[in-house]
Symmetry: D2
Subunit: 325 residues, 4 copies
């Protein structure tokens, strides 16, 4: 349920306003060098504080609690924990009665019979992605020369990203965006036909990241408009290099050694400062709602590093699994 992976297996936990959040990583090979500093860059990329991300500044300090000894992974489960330090919970209780549009308030209250932690979205918080980023740092080490690079390429349909976000942040509204991800130096043979196809595993992970609305590999939705004679990627050497890469580096679910390429559509942040309509569940009538507090004007800004991490986790798992045949 909150776990993912066969041989490199991650399990997440945590809440936005409780004691903290973290991740358990099982199946990591022993002997990988790992210190708290290794997480700095990627956690920094995820952190808020830039224009367009929420002014809630968390220390986001990773605590390597278990599974590392003398600076190396031991082969035992790795546990990385983050404490919550800067929370203001007064804002959230009323969202049970007047659920925020676009949020999980309504479904959580139904699914968990009213026992959900409503503070800051509780377990649904984007803060849980801290653990994913941390596990991604380790997964990237397992991948070695195979590198995952994600980039925000478009916001609100525009490539003039900073300008758009500045405007939207000032307006109290939010915007969506598109993130592209490519993986280079991919070994041939990762993934399985059908259920454990590389696309299946990556998309499974990517839709676990809040705000994801769509994913497409290689030519993606454009393939629907193409002819087979255009779309088929012609092999041009013994190594399997192809002239084009409409396949996005994957044939029959299995990596073909070319660059893995996919794009992800990210919705605008659901929390906005503008007044919104919603339903008042106790008074049984329409109502209005202002979501005070600190919001990301463009959650897609934080997406690239989370996407890299999730993709690295998937590929590390597929790599370890492929080695077991």
């Amino acid at each position: 349920m909150n776990s993912f992976g066969r041989n490199f297996r991650v399990s997440i936990y945590g809440e936005s306003h409780g004691t903290g959040a973290g991740i358990l990583i099982d199946g990591c090979p022993p002997g990988i060098p790992l210190t708290a500093e290794d997480f700095s860059e990627d956690l920094g990329r995820r952190r808020s504080g830039k224009k367009g991300t929420t002014p809630r500044i968390e220390a986001d300090e990773p605590h390597i609690m278990n599974g590392v000894f003398n600076g190396y992974t031991t082969g035992a489960p790795i546990h990385i924990q983050f404490y919550n330090t800067n929370t203001r919970s007064r804002d959230y209780a009323r969202f049970i009665n007047t659920p925020r549009p676009g949020h999980a308030d309504f479904v959580a209250h139904q699914k968990y019979n009213g026992f959900e932690d409503p503070r800051g979205g509780g377990h649904f918080s984007g803060r849980i992605t801290l653990g994913i980023v941390a596990a991604g740092v380790i997964a990237k080490k397992i991948l070695g020369e195979t590198k995952v690079i994600a980039e925000l390429v478009e916001v609100a349909g525009s490539k003039d990203i900073e300008k758009v976000i500045e405007e939207i942040a000032d307006s109290g509204d939010s915007v969506g965006g598109i993130v592209e991800c490519r993986v280079v130096n991919v070994p041939i043979g990762l993934g399985e036909p059908f259920f454990d196809s590389t696309e299946s595993m990556i998309s499974h992970m990517v839709f676990a990241i809040p705000a994801t609305k769509g994913i497409e590999f290689g030519s993606g939705f454009d393939a629907a408009k193409m002819k087979g004679s255009e779309h088929n990627d012609c092999f041009i050497d013994k190594a399997g290099t192809t002239k084009t890469n409409h396949a996005g580096g994957i044939n029959g679910g299995i990596t073909n050694g070319n660059e893995i390429f996919f794009r992800v559509g990210v919705k605008p942040t659901s929390s906005i400062s503008l007044k919104q309509d919603t339903y008042n569940m106790s008074e049984d009538k329409m109502d209005e709602l202002i979501v005070e507090g600190r919001h990301d004007a463009c959650i897609a800004l934080r997406m690239p590093v989370v996407l890299e991490a999730g993709t690295a986790i998937v590929l590390a798992d597929l790599k370890l699994t492929a080695q077991k045949r």
Copy 2:
């Protein structure tokens, strides 16, 4: 690897030109009426023979081998088997040396060290989806009033579907298309936050279906161009009905009771009758290739019923899992 699901678990097997293919279904509740006739409609929808699908006509007769007694499921594993009857294997051996663009010939040969069954694509064959369609029939029964409906809405960018396919079939080329899927009468509360989100599970399954290139839920990639104030779905009653459905019926990974809606981009069939360039692996030089045999001009034509089946399998699993809390 070839299995999917937690409490309603399917395992597929089979090859295009071997003895046959099938599916094992574990966790199906006892007492569901089931006869071979129940499969006729959906298997018929999947079957070839229409313009645009391959003229290879298979009997596609489902054999309920196990798990059904006196017309009802028993609670033991259900095994449904299909025999191959109409195969012509002579066409395929040379594709090891000159791999077909867009196919798994090259990666299979690498991944399985040359031991793969190359006949008709072996285990990579679209014929394996027979089992998925069969399991979907059972999953649909578990879903009861929750109905899954998929439809091909676009081919080669055009809504004039039959006309386009007729032209392309005559030309020896192929085309892609877009399939839309909606699920109605969805209970609130299916799916889990993060890794087992409804979108994660559905997309995992959908990318297991050969030829899938992209998936988007609700507003999908268009969300990337929207503002939060436009995108957020306003609740309009106590049941959680929303005015718009940009969420595609899912918040925080959990179904909200509104229609589940997603779109799938399907690539053009990789097998075409036109001459193609490829690499000759033994002579280490570029070569030409004609893929004789029987091809679908538009594999997207067969997609709707497979997509319905896959989606039903996912939702049946989520439904049984949700009941276990």
Copy 3:
């Protein structure tokens, strides 16, 4: 539910009196030579027909349906199927009302709400172990020089095995026995601490074999009477060889390179020809029952080969999992 294993994964199906039974094997490496003849020896050892086993002679012919091409495993799921040919179903329907002591009649009827296949025990039949034996043949090939040898060492508390069984068979009663299993040439490092300990995995599998009542590793229950100074196995070389083997070849859940040794207690066959008391569920009173038909006087006779197979499946999975971690 009916599956076992992480990287070498088996899924069983079948009924005693339906069309047949079989097993699906996923994760088997490609390139392992495999023909129907490879199964002859172990299936022969499992087969009935000897004094003390049921006179129901089944052909027990293994059909390699999928996953093997030109005599080698392909890396795709291997499917091995057995057809039922010699069934007499008239005997079984009444056991729903007057459940056989020691059998699953009563629990199956409750658990599956009356929809279970009652013929010959349905899915609870020992016939399902055919698939386990078949998968064991493949697992043994994966294990290479690591050999699993099981032996019936005691029947009804006596080592004079044939004599005891002959007597009991003539009397219409049945007897239990003890089977010992040893594994030689075991690599160091299989298994994991805690949940996936070698003992956990083996015992999980062994209790899946009908009639198993107990299992003990190394010194087993005798360890409860020993002192630490006696029980501790002293290392006597750099390879980890120990002077004694009270550990049964496993420390902290992980194989230490010494022989794996365990013993299994097997109950007497539940089906006997003698008149037995049971409860009549419809008349709500005590009743008498004679179970006609063909019975094993000592099911433990068939146990060694099934135990070897189950153990080999576990060790093959642990071996593939441990590889290159």
Copy 4:
């Protein structure tokens, strides 16, 4: 690897001398009342300090980090953490070179290529069972009226338990023992035939508890000496009550509503204060070893509460799995 369960899933982590240990519990239903005090009794039963257990006194204070809000489980992953406070690590480094008999020193060093945490046994420490006991407290709540009761019934072959342990503790040696476990008010229908049989799941868990050497259900190994006419449990009412309980409450892997009964053989603590022989790996010759520090003279003393917890975890998982199938 370090996880167990399908619908009630526990994941353990931790080391003896690192920051601490803990457990993640996924799939727990929402709305179960839970406070730190609920753990006191069972953690107290597990704690050392009694004659025969190590004088290392740990606070063993459970920290409910996640998944509980306002005193109730929320449905999100529950995380319970224990900090290590009283560790003396100087004793352990040399055990890599002269591995302690009966311990995992040797296998851990081999399996993890020398990167294992050797302090206090690292991840192999019995201290990891803290998490199992904590999860057991929650599992017991899920089980409701179904009660698990384990008891130490024999030490060193004697029922005069305290006297034996006092003597052995004074001698610096250790002893094994036998623990009996019974479960009352068991619903009919838990467990599955074959791989997920109730015995398979319980034994899987029980062998995950350090020092377990054997397990037997109902008549256990004695069944090997019995006749079918003696062993078969006669049904005596419509509810499935049986006159005897040789089956240990389980038929065909499925609970029959009678008491579940099993016995566990526990080896003597491997750590003893007496001088022992072992092999010196760097000097390549036999050597002597004294394991200073604090030891349990009889680890079986702590076993009952861990066994109860493990069994409750298994049965909670089977209960949630069986629900509404």
